[in-house]
Symmetry: C2
Subunit: 77 residues, 2 copies
């Protein structure tokens, strides 16, 4: 089972990406944790550590995949 | 079973997104078709019809999700 992280900040782009992309991952292979960076600012550094520059972003096996063109992390600090 | 389309143009960002995001979708719920727009230019209009502006992009239930910041469709024409 691989770990996937879905970082977002509650924006409309984020919500639709969460409900359609993060939720579409194969539950037999991926354990998806959803992290709301607007509410959990302490985890912004963790997202940056994976190379995340904007949200929403999906991190699969440690690799960041930014989805659509959301808010930059700098705006969340 | 829902249809998902993964539009790409063979670039490095595309390949890693394909192998990790498109391939991570739940095969029980999604039938993923991979479309190489560099080789199938006739399908660029189809991608644009879904609102795709750059590749790689995943289209799930008709909604476009651009992944990372790849090449714009205009560059493929």
């Amino acid at each position: 089972m691989s770990k996937a992280l879905f970082f977002h900040a509650g924006c409309p782009i984020c919500i639709s990406a969460e409900q359609q992309v993060a939720a579409a991952l194969d539950p037999a292979r991926y354990d998806v944790e959803v992290v709301h960076l607007g509410e959990q600012k302490s985890r912004i550094a963790e997202a940056e550590g994976f190379g995340v520059q904007s949200v929403p972003a999906l991190v699969i096996d440690g690799q960041p995949f930014h989805i659509n063109f959301g808010a930059s992390l700098a705006d969340l600090k």
